[in-house]
């Protein structure tokens, strides 16, 4: 009786193991062979930055696409990127490398979208910016708390100077001044760099002790000072007079941010007409219009919207199904 029972138990467990292992294997094989957009595709030979228009990431294919003009159909065929930006002579494409731990490949591309240089950094791709000339590039990746450690996020922002080839893997070490005094804290995090036209000054977000600041940085002098509190993901206008940013206006984690524009001359800010919470580094489509991604409607991952920079007007849906907008002239 006892032996029979033991045999029965063993048989049950063996059958269950076979079924469950078979199910797992079957699903893995199915996932392996089903149709999915490639993660590593390079740009088609015909797709470059020569055509002016709105460039963006198409979530359906994971590749960069172009909207030549209002009303015209989109053109696909760009490289696979999770985040994309372009200006001057260069484009920056952030691509998450497959597998664990999370790593990001930052690809520097020329105007034909061929690779000029590539850097691999740990973390999940997040923000990408190129200076107007194309000489300076910056990207931010989220470092993921591993399962063993706590699951907090921290950011790591890199700056690459193509004139010297010098790469600053993390700008965390930059001497920072807050309220006129040198600031030291173990938890400073930078993200969302935007460059000025002089290829030296930059603006970024720094967060520490639960507060965020807008910092103005100087690459040559290697210093940074905090200008204002509660400014995230700054984006400098093409004429370098205003900064668009997301401001935390609510403690509700479902809708914490609103888009604002800060006038650098008078340091006055005003909200934009967009009433939804925007979690994106907005891009200036021209000196009076901003583009940004919002969670998509109708099952789409995200849509690109635009809104006037002076606080008037209404948001307008520009690209259904798109993210990482950048205007290329």
């Amino acid at each position: 009786m006892k032996a029979a029972q033991r045999h029965l138990r063993l048989a049950v467990v063996v059958i269950a193991v076979l079924l469950l292992a078979g199910g797992s294997l079957g699903y893995v094989l199915h996932a392996r062979h089903r149709e999915r957009p490639p993660q590593q595709a390079d740009a088609d030979g015909s797709f470059g930055l020569d055509e002016p228009g709105l460039y963006f990431r198409d979530p359906a294919t994971g590749r960069v696409a172009r909207l030549p003009a209002r009303g015209a159909p989109r053109v696909g065929g760009g490289p696979s990127c999770d985040r994309f930006y372009a200006a001057g002579e260069r484009a920056l494409c952030l691509r998450k490398l497959p597998g664990l731990p999370a790593r990001t490949r930052a690809l520097v591309l020329d105007r034909r979208l061929r690779e000029v240089r590539g850097v691999t950094v740990p973390g999940i791709p997040n923000r990408a910016r190129v200076s107007a000339s194309g000489n300076l590039l910056s990207w931010t990746a989220f470092a993921v708390g591993d399962s063993y450690a706590t699951s907090g996020f921290s950011t790591r922002t890199s700056v690459l100077d193509l004139r010297t080839g010098y790469l600053i893997k993390s700008i965390e070490g930059i001497p920072l001044t807050v309220d006129g005094a040198r600031y030291h804290a173990p938890d400073v995090n930078y993200w969302g760099v935007t460059f000025a036209r002089d290829d030296n000054r930059f603006y970024a977000t720094v967060s520490s002790r639960g507060r965020t600041h807008l910092v103005e940085g100087d690459l040559r002098n290697w210093s940074a000072k905090a200008l204002r509190e509660n400014v995230e993901c700054p984006s400098l206008s093409p004429d370098n007079t205003r900064i668009a940013f997301k401001k935390k206006v609510s403690g509700d984690p479902r809708a914490p941010w609103r888009l604002y524009v800060l006038d650098l001359a008078g340091m006055r800010e005003h909200p934009l007409a967009e009433r939804h919470s925007v979690d994106d580094q907005a891009a200036w489509l021209d000196d009076s219009t901003l583009g940004y991604a919002l969670p998509g409607r109708g099952g789409r991952a995200s849509d690109i919207w635009s809104v006037p920079a002076d606080g008037t007007g209404e948001p307008r849906l520009v690209v259904p199904g798109g993210s990482s907008p950048v205007a290329v002239r």
């Binding site: 049950v12 269950a16 893995v28 996932a31 591993d146 399962s147 063993y148 450690a149 984690p253 969670p295």
Partner: protein, 409 residues
């Protein structure tokens, strides 16, 4: 010296060889924990990637989702303990917890991109984890004679840690094979979780079979027992003087200027140490009494703090990780073995839940306090404070912990 004097008259005289066998229940529960930890650590490893990259959640939202249920688990744990004690339903309550966690993977899969669905799935997982812990530890402590509990818990924790180490590897393999199909990770994790539930159902006997649960009309609460009270206070005190592992790793990473890519690997050191030492330390605890290893474990942690004052180099960093491994091996299972026999069989799950919850909350407090001290005073003063606090807590615990542990009758 072989000290197994517990005053039990019904225990047969023990030969050293007979002491090597671990009760089948413990091995079965260890296997359940191993398989379940593979399942849960698989998901933990990919969840941030899935939520942020796959679904486009902002880190703030992720942190909110992740932290939302952490406080609730403590209460659920107490609930699980009480439910298990009523009528000796340890196995059923633990099984329900395991099943709930396994099903939560299916929830993640079905939720698609809906944040509410994902939150619900994560809540179910945490609920399952909270419910099952106390009944499971009670089952272990009820499965054998009290004098071998240290080793039993050592074996269980070693198997548990093995699963935790294998989980991320399994997730890595699945992501590799499928080029980042997160749904495949959830499916494999679900199947593995179900296997854990099945192992529990088939191989773990109910508590009433292992021990005859005495029919007392009203089980006295754990806090009535002065010895248990002392253990509880000492544990809470020591817990509040613990700064949290992530801070230790951060100090190491900063001190060594370690590349961030290597940062996630640091916790593997203590885990490996825990894995290797859990059984031997458990055996030692069985011989010397659990009080001394428990205190020495915290002394090892104090040693780790002290090492961090020295200029950091690779040997010191390795020593810190080893000491952290010793700390876990000498305190986690040993505490359960220390307190378990004090509690009457009918109130054991509830009592252990109270103890674990108290420790967890005290540690939370300690970590938060250290974080605040670091930002306010800087790294070194904060570390000094932590070291002094731990030394003080250790001295107090030395006096407070009962010297000889008598078995509850």
């Amino acid at each position: 010296m072989y000290l197994a004097t517990t005053g039990r008259t019904d225990a047969p005289p023990r030969t050293p060889g007979a002491g090597r066998r671990v009760p089948g229940t413990v091995l079965a529960l260890g296997a359940v924990s191993l398989v379940t930890d593979v399942s849960s650590e698989m998901v933990t490893a990919v969840l941030p990637l899935y939520l942020v990259l796959g679904l486009g959640l902002s880190p703030l939202q992720f942190g909110f989702l992740d932290g939302m249920f952490n406080g609730a688990t403590a209460l659920v744990r107490l609930l699980g303990g009480r439910l298990a004690d009523r009528g000796g339903r340890h196995k059923r309550v633990a099984g329900a917890g395991y099943l709930l966690s396994a099903l939560s993977r299916l929830g993640l899969l079905l939720a698609g991109g809906a944040t509410a669905g994902i939150a619900a799935a994560l809540a179910a997982d945490r609920l399952g984890k909270g419910i099952r812990t106390a009944p499971r530890d009670a089952l272990i402590s009820l499965s054998g004679p009290p004098e071998t509990l240290g080793r039993s818990f050592g074996v269980h924790r070693a198997m548990d840690t093995t699963g935790a180490l294998l989980g991320p590897l399994a997730a890595f393999a699945v992501l590799r094979a499928t080029t980042d199909a997160y749904d495949a990770v959830f499916v494999v994790s679900f199947c593995t979780g179900l296997l854990g539930v099945l192992l529990l159902a088939v191989y773990v006997p109910p508590a009433s079979e292992t021990v005859r649960v005495p029919v007392t009309p009203r089980p006295r609460t754990a806090f009535r027992d002065p010895a248990f009270r002392r253990i509880f206070y000492a544990t809470a005190l020591l817990g509040a003087a613990t700064i949290g592992d992530s801070f230790l790793y951060l100090l190491l990473q900063r001190g060594l200027d370690l590349p961030t890519a290597l940062f996630p690997l640091l916790p593997l050191g203590p885990a490996a140490g825990y894995l290797l030492l859990a059984v031997p330390v458990g055996r030692i605890a069985d011989r010397t009494g659990r009080r001394l290893p428990f205190l020495l474990g915290h002394a090892a942690l104090l040693g780790a703090y002290a090492l961090l004052f020295a200029p950091l180099a690779w040997p010191t960093a390795v020593a810190v990780l080893v000491l952290l491994g010793i700390f876990y091996a000498a305190t986690d299972g040993v505490l359960m073995a220390l307190a378990g026999p004090l509690l009457p069989a009918r109130g054991r799950a509830g009592g252990l839940a109270v103890l674990q919850t108290g420790q967890a909350l005290a540690r939370l407090l300690g970590a938060a306090g250290f974080g605040a001290a670091w930002t306010l005073w800087g790294q070194r003063p904060a570390l000094w404070t932590a070291a002094l606090a731990l030394a003080g807590a250790l001295l107090a615990a030395w006096r407070v912990l009962p010297a000889t542990v008598s078995e509850a009758s």
